[in-house]
Amino acid sequence: MVNLTIDGKQITVSKKATIYEAAKEAGVHIPVLCYAKKLLPYGACRICLVEVEQMKGRLIPSCTTPVTEGMVVNSISDEIRKVRKTVLEFLLVNHVVECPVCDKGGECDLQDLTYEYEVVTNRFEGEKFDLPTDEINPLIERNMNRCVLCGKCVRVCDEIVGYGSYSFINRGFETKIATAFDRGLNCEFCGQCVSMCPVGAILPRPFKFKARPWQLKEVDSVCGYCGNGCTVTFGTKDNEVQTIRFNDKNGVNDGNLCIRGRFGISYVNSDKRLTRPLVRRNGHLTETSWDDAIQVAVAGLKAAGDKLGVISGARLTNEELFLVKQLAKTLGTENLDHSGGECYKGVTEGLKETLGIQASTGTFPQVEHCDAILSIRSDFYETHPVFGMVVNQAVRNNEAKLTVIADKRGKFTKLPNARTLLHKPGLELNILNAICSVLLDEGLAKTDGIEGLNELKDALKDYSADAVAAATGVGADAIKQAARELAQADNAAILLAYGLPYTAYSKELGTAAANLALLTGIAGRPGSGLYLCGEKANSQGAVDLSILPGEKGLGAQQMLAAAGTGELKALYLIGEDPLTSYPDRALVEKALEASFLVVQDLFLSPTAQKADVVFPATSFAEKDGTFTNAERRIQRLRVGITPPGEARTDFAILQQLIQEFGGQAPATSAEAFAALAAETPGYEMVSLEMLGPQGYVWGGDILQPESKKLLPVAGAVAVDGDYQLLVGSSLYHSGTVSTGAKGPMAVVSEPYIELGREDAAALKLVDGDLLKLKAAAGEIQAKVKVDRRLPKGVLFTPYHFSQLELNRIYRGQAAIAVEPVKQ
């Protein structure tokens, strides 16, 4: 700690602090332009100059100067005022001042400072910038005539996002921010640069000329897309979420978001939303009143007796999921499940059987300080981009050693010094086994108090690094190095995402990852963690609340099969579109055709089109409640806007249904939270009041495993065939609902089949050609996208689009053998 005086105030701060940070702590305001809390100090703008007694004769930039013992700082004086005013005059020489039509007006740092320092005239004259602007990009508008060259956009895109879109080009007065070759932006469109720019040089295009910042009502909530659980702040006006506001005070995401969170909100205001209940009459879905729809649904469900099943999505709030459970109980069925019923088994069975817990052991911020990180699949960045940015920071700021077990290259494999274990599709398990076997062979494993060591040793005999290397196509040395790094790191993390397109070997992967976490000592060690991250916003909540089949109950896949054969008479689907996103379309089609089907959704999805009753539900922006993210953080959603038409919250619909069936339902979502907290392990001590701006992590920063049992898992066998199709997530989409949002659709508007250059050349395909893939179960066709990510013989397609009908050939395999036919 260091003692210093700022404007006569004595304060003590950490010796790593800068003068600016110390002043902030002391409550002394120093203006800044190029400083940002989450970026490394830069010192470009010189607006933050202060006087330091010990360094007389010149002014000192407070944002880059570290504090020293006994320092005496003056944050304001006539001289400082004069200099700051001059700095502003310089900035305004070329700046095109057009505040009336600039969307930054009202929250522009330059505007505010100009006002504060009363810069009404300019002693200097010069030519105004006359640079071309980019207004074509659908998401990010750039007008460099307003840039103050603070470099924040350059730095955030590099330091946090790890993409590196921008840099300074030219010199002197000609200096400007540009992309490579000064072309249009073609990046992740996370919009971090938008949120960082202190002026109106980089702005969100969808918000162009929509409103002034002071007209917007700000509502803090949680992103409704993925399990990363980023906090978002809606800017609402006229009952629309106009934009997402920058807010780095809430949550764990430091104000960072991905394209879905920042630009994917528009679906909530879509005019395709369902506004009235629908009931099938004479073969057609017709609009009707709530009372009627409820009566028809109740009659249909009653007729099915206990031969019915409930399948929920994982984007319902905890409170709503609690009601889903209540409803299943009231209906007298144990046939209850969520998210396709397979993909989460790594958590509910894999982790449960080994570590005795069903959640990640650590929290996200810890990963920034890790020395070694293992990501299973390169897709982790696609499913959880903002957590991926934490990994990027660990690699850059902490020189963390990143190993990626991957079947294709991607963002992670491009990070500095990343080690890619590029294997044949579907063989992640074998590599995990090999890493475990290296740890045991080289005596690196931490085996104290761990059960099942001998069984595991026996089972791993066939998985020596060399054997696995030969089978998977990965270098044996790389596997060994990865194992050593993980074992020797003080802090290490293992990451694995689960979700609907990753159903294959889900349980086995969870078990294998847990084995590795035990042998490396990662599980339960402070600073380290095993992260199994769910694809949807409340995947973890659904697991915590046990939206799972009861002992005698059927899982989602079995329910669908049983409905297909007539064994189940009715299905109730809440916020799920199995026809688009569940594996095995034939199975789903049969089930939907044969049963009495009630669907509760935002849109008339392909599944809803088959329903007998459709309830219009509300989006995450229209309800309150809580989500639990992939690090067990319980965070609050708040109502931003009112639902369209007669749409009702899932909570209200479920409540009424429970009452119709003679059950008891909590009256408010606060009551529901109290009730669910009382009976959910880990939530017992949690109350709504405890969910502050940072939420509340149940189980604490480090969740201790309840058991330490190693369980052998058999490796997989590579799929035969010259061409193999991988199914997964695209960075720009999440689940199926993002295909109703303008932002993600502006970047990826239709399904595609991606293949490597070599294959493209062999098949004589170029971008945009139509390609048909024939597989055992059927065929799909889509436009081709040629990239460098995929090894020879491997193709990739994202699963979000209903028109692709991917599940005609995707039945939960790790890789699908296909035969490509150019159309």
């Binding site: 505040c99 009336p100 007006g105 162009k208 000329f209 929509k210 002034r212």
Partner: protein, 132 residues
């Protein structure tokens, strides 16, 4: 005291003489307004469009909250007021909007004969304000 009284009364009497009367025979006769008079608003047009750039300063400053502006992008990519509306029944003719406007797009004319029969007639839309 009587002296002061007579002096005061003489002023009153003087005004009774022909030619010294301040009352005019409205509506037969109308006075010319001072250039600073604050009457009905006028939106200033340019050759091609309204001068207003929909900056939202006038609705923000308006103490009676009677101005509605909705901005949008026109074909040329410029910001313009898709909607500009003044509810004259609520307007208190303070002139703050004129003062706030950064581009001198709104003025106040000398029109003060604003009585009307229907509530709706007091809603001055953009087109009407451009012509006033």
């Amino acid at each position: 005291m009587f002296k002061e009284f007579a002096k005061g009364l003489s002023i009153t009497l003087k005004h009774l003489l022909p030619g010294n009367c301040t009352t005019v025979q409205y509506p037969q006769q109308k006075l010319e307004m001072s250039p600073r008079f604050r009457g009905l608003h006028r939106l200033v047009p340019t050759q091609t469009r309204e001068k207003c750039v929909a900056c939202y300063l006038c609705p923000t400053v308006c103490p009676a909250k009677c101005i509605t502006v909705e901005s949008a992008e026109n074909e040329a990519g410029e910001k313009y007021p898709k909607v500009y509306k003044i509810d004259l029944l609520r307007c208190i003719f303070c002139g703050y909007c004129v003062e706030a406007c950064p581009v001198e797009a709104i003025e106040m004319t000398d029109a003060y004969e604003l009585a009307n029969y229907k509530r709706d007639d007091f809603n001055f839309e953009k087109e009407r304000l451009l012509k006033s």
